[in-house]
Each structure stands twice: as structure tokens, then as C-alpha cells.
Symmetry: C2
Subunit: 396 residues, 2 copies
């Protein structure tokens, strides 16, 4: 096997397009000079378009977890109460992180593999309590389970209650529809290494005017991750500290690619990737973790390993024999589930290849498999989509 | 002018060698897989060699300021007292940052352009006070003034007092001698975008056993920047969150370059670059901010603009007409000083070129300049060094 050519089907880091990867090799520049201003302006304008917001989108160092911590520390005062809606490992991480940072955390736990229910959130918020809930922490796309939560409806309930709506859209934004301003989301954060097709290392974060008001009132200590200097320097393209320049070069390039494809077209592509994946998985007789297709994620799919075969064995064989890299399950799902990431720089053909690797792995492990069924099911979905897009091509 | 070819003489970001820049374009990988383990092990072993330590060197996202905040929050408990030795803008930033984070901060202010004096530090520490000083915050190389502080001696004084020695070596490590273990430094941090020749975005941090003990006792809230999971996962190459992979590819490559040159050879090269720069600046009749050559930095030189000409005018002309990018002064020095960075991927010829640009800018601005004097002085230093290294080359 040509080990250097593998297909990365992780829910992050995701594959990086060659022009994005190579953009990083451009020479460094003075981040206080004019060339930087042009770079910064192009990036932030592009980010506002993908966030669907008129608010500044801040570019910060670190991964999504860092962005999450930063958001809490800026927009919620120390010791205040937050409600964490937990639908999987990342929701759980936010709840535990908020507690570690000294917040009072109330949890709304949802069975892993199911989506949060706006009605249940409304009931919970209506319950009497001694201290008000200042913020509701939501996960747009729960990467660990492959559930897409109904953010628009959940946000509306939280806003009716008067709480800030803080949304982790790390594995959502860019792949799945999200409308920050229209849906009234107060804080939205994502990482560049997911649907935005960049290498990891950048967190992107936008906040609503009422979130900024909360930040200005917040007496909590903060310095490096005090977002106010970022906001105050935004118009002048002035950053308080040296930014990760090479990653900004990459991000500029990936935003250009998104612009060229069109954001709605990217959403449609991910919708197709998700449907193909689910059709293929079902066709080979495997079970999806998410039973309700309405909430099945179009950026990552969690698949239950068949009885008698561990997810890590499937992943190892897929990697070593078929050159396809899949993700494992997280936390309590680690022994039962593997995940297929299909977000960012991924095309339908990649899904066919990934499904072939899973099917082949099952066969090599001695399971009764009819080769080609997964591909057939995925191709059928693909062809339907192609036929909807355009009439049959000319035969001559 | 070919605008795309400019000479970056900043004290960071510094020029990135082509193999380092291109390494970033390598495909992403699973940061929980075996290939990552090999990458992590090579990087950390290389970092231990440049830090001169047997302790783990942690690789964190962010710039030096983030690393500084992280160090404080992990190794000093909330509200405790620290002594900040301030010799310039970065020492001042640490003092202000520590205060913003809720620490009690005592300052030992030194005139900008001078080095901190170990005797003065001893006297200060001996003074009676109601609360003990838990940590002394030191700047190895003060980037704003071009002063290299006598860290070994300062650290010894701080240790005698029982305080943790926390050293910002952002623009020092890799360029200037530093011996973490031998000098008894408790925390050393640097950024990858300086002498380590990488693009910005990574902070590197190592801590002594007694600093780790302080961290384990520290009840302060922390989550994303809690360093304990990084330390605990070090042996297994397991990181708590997605690392900045492309920057790690770059760092592996730059550490290989440092290994090939040899760390002591890199120190000697920077010593030569510093001496050439100072000789050239003096030869064209300009004044150095640092009067005492014993503490003059070999990684960055601050130069006073001549009367009647602003540093920003010199920098603009050097950039626009000569293609050389210089840094401005910081804080109170912004109207009087410009800075020549000469660290990282910089060779003696670059210094000659930078000096020619400054000399040329002075001439274009109408100052009486004898062209070539700066170059002559720098070349003389260079030739002395070459003659010391080897006998005269054969004439045929």
C-alpha cells in the first residue's frame, strides 16, 4: 500500500485543499502593516458571510475548547449560573469545563444519539430556581454522536427566558445551515479545522450586541483572552497579539474556495454526503446511532459496530488495509461506535470509497457481506441528486 | 521594486525557511494515531535539547502572551503575590497582565534600555512585606528595548528567596544561551515564531518539578489551559485537544534545521549578527538605546532615530524604497526608536542589507551620510569572525 495516500474521514482535522495548504508557505509579514490590514479585512468579511452575521467575527488562537472557555469567561460573569444542554461528549465537556471554571452549572442531559427537545428545554427553564440562568450552552452539531440539534428552536426558547444563547458550532458551521443573526444566537464559535477546511489552530467567534453588553459588565479577570481588545481593534484590523499568520493565509484561501462554491451549495453538498453515508451504512446492514433521520448530522455519522466485532478492529483494518482513516467513539461510546467524518474538503466519491473500506473490513473480518451494496445505495442517492440538478447529459 | 521580495527584519514574526514553510502543506493526520506519536516524540525531544532541560516541554496554542497567562494561572494560585521585574514593554505587559488576572503585583522597574541588576533584586526581595512573593517574573530578552537580562544571576537571587523563577524567553530561546535546568529556572516559555523559525501560533513551555508541585496545589479554576492533562499525557503523546498540526509539522522541520546547525553554532551566529548590527549602527553615527554592550541583545537592536527624523519615516522609506521591513518602538519608545530584528532564519548578509537600507534611508531623507560606512563596519566584524573560524582559503 502507498501509505502516504490515505483518505482522512475524520470529523476533524479534515483534509486541507492543496491551495489552502500551500498558502501557509507564503512569507511572513508585519502584522502591524498595511498588507496585514488587507488580509484581515478579506478574512473577516468572508467569515461574516459564513456566520451569517453583521457582527465582528474574531479570529483567536486555539481549538474549539479554548474558544468555548474564552466565550464563557467573557460573556458570563464568574460564579453565575448556566444551563448546559448535553447531548454527547462535547456538551458534556462544556458542562464540565464550565464547572471547572467556577460557574454554577445545571445540566439538561439528553440520551446520547438523540437531539435536545425545545419543549423539554422550555419546561426546564420554567422550573423555579433561586438563581437565574444567564446562559444556555448549546451544541449545534454534536460531533460525538452525529446529532444535529434544532438550534433555531432551542435558541428561541432560551431567548424567551432571557438567557444568552451560546452555540458551539465547531463541526457545524460551513457544513450545516446556521443563521446567527436571524436565529438570534448570541455567541457562535467554530474551529477552522472542520468545514472551513483549514489546519487546526484557529477558533472563530462572533457575539451579539447583548453578549457584548454582558461582557462589558463582566468584572471577571481575563487578559490574553479578553475579547474586548479584539473587538475594539476590529475596524482598524489591529490585533492585540501576534496572530497565527500562516493559518490566516490558509483561512483566506479556504474562504475564497467557499465563496466560489457558494455557501448554500456547500450546505447542499454536505446534505448529500450525509444521505449517501447513511444509505450506504444501512445497506450493509449496520445500525446508525442516530435513529431519527431528522436529527442525523450531515457532517459526521456514528455507526454501531456489528455484534462480535469491535469498532477499533474495523478502524484498524480500514486504515491498514484500505487506507481510510475513520474516527472512534468517544467516552461511553468508545467500545460500540465508530464515526465517519464527511465535512469540509470531501466529495461524494470520498464517501463511496469510505463505505467500500468499511464493507471490505467487515468482509475481511469474516462477516457475511454482499460486496457493493453500500456503494450501490450511496450511488443511488448521488444519482438522484445529480438528476435533480440537471437533465441527462447529451449522448453524443 | 519587486514588492514580493522583501527582507523581514522584525523581532517576530521572523522569516520562515522554505522547508519549514512547505512542511505545513503536508496532509492532516489523526492526532490520536501512531503517526502523531512519532511526530510528537521528535518535537518534544528536540525542544528539550533547545530548552536544555530534562523536563517535558509542552506545546500550546497561542502567542507568548497566552503562554505567559497560562503559566501564571497554573503555577501561581489566585491572588498570590508576584514580583514583576520590568525592563521594557513586555515586562510591563506581564505586570499588567498579572494584575488583570487578580494577582497582587509588586513591580521592580528598571529604566528602559538598561538590564535588571541582581543586587537590586536581592535588596528588593529582602525588604519586609506582609505577604510572601511566590514568583519572580523575569524577561530574558526584552524585545522592546533590545536588552538581554542576566537571567542566570537574577534566577539565583530569586531562588535563594524561595520564589518560583518564571522566565519569558520569547525572543531569547534558540538565539541566546539559556540553560533551564542548570540555571534553576522554574518556568521557561517561548514562542515558535522567533528564533525557532516557525510561523506564529505556538507557545512552548517547560516547568521544573517544584513548579509542577505548585500547580498540583493550586486550587485556581482552569480548563482549556490547565497544563496537568498536557503533562499527564506527555509520555503517551496524548494531547487533551486537537493540536495545531500544520504548525507542528513546521516545528519538526525547524528543530531539524537547528539540530543540523547545532544549538551552540546558532548562539554564535546570533552573537555575530548582534555585533555586526551594533557596529554598523554606530558607524553611521546613530545611537543605540542600550548603552552597555554587556547587556545588548544579539537578537534585536533598538536604534534611536537621529534628531529631526522620525523612526516611522525611516521605517517607511526602508520598506518602500529599499524593501527592508524594520520594527517600530513600543510604548514610550514609539516616537524615538526603531528596531532591527536579527533572530531566527537570518544570516550575516541580511544584516549588511538591512544596514544599507537604514543608511540609504538616512541619505534619502537628506542627512549627511557617507555611504558604505555601516556595511564596512559590519563586514569588518564578520571577517574577524570568519578568520577566527578557519585559516585563509587557498588562493588557487
Amino acid at each position: 500500500m502507498l501509505e502516504e495516500k490515505y483518505l482522512l474521514m475524520l470529523p476533524g482535522p479534515t483534509p486541507v485543499p492543496p491551495p489552502v495548504a500551500l498558502a501557509q508557505a507564503m512569507p511572513m509579514m508585519n502584522h502591524r502593516g498595511e498588507a496585514f490590514t488587507a488580509l484581515f479585512r478579506e478574512i473577516t468579511a468572508g467569515l461574516q458571510r459564513v456566520f451569517r452575521t453583521r457582527q465582528p467575527v474574531l479570529v483567536l488562537p486555539g481549538s474549539g475548547t479554548g474558544g468555548f472557555e474564552t466565550a464563557l469567561q467573557n460573556f458570563v460573569a464568574p460564579g453565575e449560573k448556566v444551563l448546559a444542554v448535553v447531548t454527547g461528549a462535547f456538551g458534556d465537556r462544556w458542562a464540565k469545563g464550565a464547572r471547572a471554571l467556577g460557574y454554577e452549572v445545571e445540566r439538561l442531559d439528553v440520551e446520547w444519539g438523540r437531539a435536545a427537545d425545545p419543549g423539554e428545554l422550555r419546561e426546564r427553564l420554567a422550573a423555579g430556581r433561586d438563581r437565574p440562568i444567564r446562559a444556555v450552552l448549546l451544541t449545534h452539531n454534536e460531533t460525538s454522536t452525529g446529532v444535529t440539534n434544532p438550534i433555531r428552536e432551542l435558541a428561541q426558547v432560551a431567548r424567551e427566558h432571557g438567557a444568552l444563547v451560546m452555540v458551539d458550532s465547531v463541526s457545524g458551521l460551513g457544513a450545516l445551515p446556521i443563521e446567527m443573526d436571524e436565529w438570534g444566537l448570541d455567541v457562535v464559535l467554530t474551529g477552522a479545522q472542520k468545514a472551513l477546511m483549514c489546519p487546526p489552530g484557529l477558533t472563530l467567534l462572533a457575539a451579539s450586541p447583548r453578549a457584548w453588553e454582558a461582557s462589558d459588565r463582566n468584572p471577571g479577570p481575563r487578559f490574553y483572552f479578553d475579547l474586548r481588545p479584539y473587538r475594539d481593534g476590529y475596524e482598524k484590523a489591529s490585533l492585540p497579539y501576534t496572530p497565527a499568520l500562516a493559518l490566516l493565509y490558509a483561512l483566506r484561501e479556504s474562504l475564497r474556495l467557499i465563496e466560489r462554491e457558494g455557501l448554500e451549495a456547500a450546505w447542499a453538498r454536505h446534505r448529500l454526503l450525509g444521505r449517501m453515508t447513511r444509505a450506504g451504512v444501512r445497506a450493509m446492514g449496520l445500525e446508525l446511532l442516530v435513529r431519527d433521520d431528522r436529527f442525523a448530522s450531515d457532517s459526521v455519522t456514528a455507526v454501531k459496530a456489528p455484534p462480535g466485532l469491535s469498532p477499533s478492529a474495523i478502524r484498524r483494518t480500514a486504515r491498514e488495509r484500505f487506507g481510510v482513516i475513520l474516527a472512534g467513539g468517544q467516552g461511553p461510546l468508545s467500545e460500540t461506535v465508530f464515526r465517519i467524518g464527511h465535512l469540509g474538503y470531501v466529495v461524494p466519491g470520498d464517501v463511496v470509497q469510505a463505505l467500500a473500506a468499511v464493507e471490505g473490513a467487515l468482509a475481511l473480518h469474516g462477516l457475511p457481506v454482499e460486496l457493493g451494496r453500500a456503494a450501490a445505495a450511496a450511488e443511488a442517492v448521488w444519482l438522484d441528486a445529480l438528476r435533480e440538478q440537471a437533465p441527462a447529459p447529451a449522448r453524443t
